[in-house]
Symmetry: D2
Subunit: 79 residues, 4 copies
Amino acid sequence: MWNEHTADGKTYLERVFEFSNFVEAWGFMSKVAILAEKQNHHPEWSNVYNKVTIRLSTHDAGDVVTDYDRALAAAIDEL
Amino acid sequence: MWNEHTADGKTYLERVFEFSNFVEAWGFMSKVAILAEKQNHHPEWSNVYNKVTIRLSTHDAGDVVTDYDRALAAAIDEL
Amino acid sequence: MWNEHTADGKTYLERVFEFSNFVEAWGFMSKVAILAEKQNHHPEWSNVYNKVTIRLSTHDAGDVVTDYDRALAAAIDEL
Amino acid sequence: MWNEHTADGKTYLERVFEFSNFVEAWGFMSKVAILAEKQNHHPEWSNVYNKVTIRLSTHDAGDVVTDYDRALAAAIDEL
């Protein structure tokens, strides 16, 4: 589901989520937003209509994937 | 699902939705908010933790249930 | 701003917020939702169009006003 | 505020919004989401913490900037 990528010296977890339309995608994002702030760990994410792309990386650790990223990814997967 | 109630001279459709927790309830509300504004018809609604109560009535028609309420109820049920 | 009320054996802080329209009210609610989950303390709140009513009480303490309520009220006021 | 860019054969309006933190950025996005769905015109947008980047282009017109984009940009600016 989550793939690890490296680009421009940054490593991150990435997953793309697809929904039936924008409203459903937005309902999902609204839940992710709460989880992110609750964990004090925020994604780099984008949306176009029914598609949401989430990238997780830990800037303070030098833009690598840490347990903070894995914890947020796990919480998102539980939604 | 939706029940018609009359109280204080107002008639409205009411439905109570329950979720597993606040985050799930909020994801639902975030979708309903978009539908409501899109239809230019806004609910009287409340939330406590995992529970969302939605009441639909048409103020401009004298606080009775109209097709505007039935259309929004149907859109909510399709989520 | 926040008034303390007692009704049906429950004491709570209540404040009513008014905005120019539903979209502005919803933007506010979206911020409050995150704060509430972050503090693990959820309001009893309702919305009709441009109006948001928030009630804060601590159920686990016997439906009285505690520091949990005051902390969430303060965070909301800072928005 | 909004700049017109061309890249990969696509032309779009772009604007970057900065807020004091994630919660404020999210409140803004929650309002934009409603406007977008109401206008049946959805942005390509991304967020990292307090920063929101919005790109507007009309896919059905061949990925160019049209009045649909200008209308959504104007509605966002009025927030």
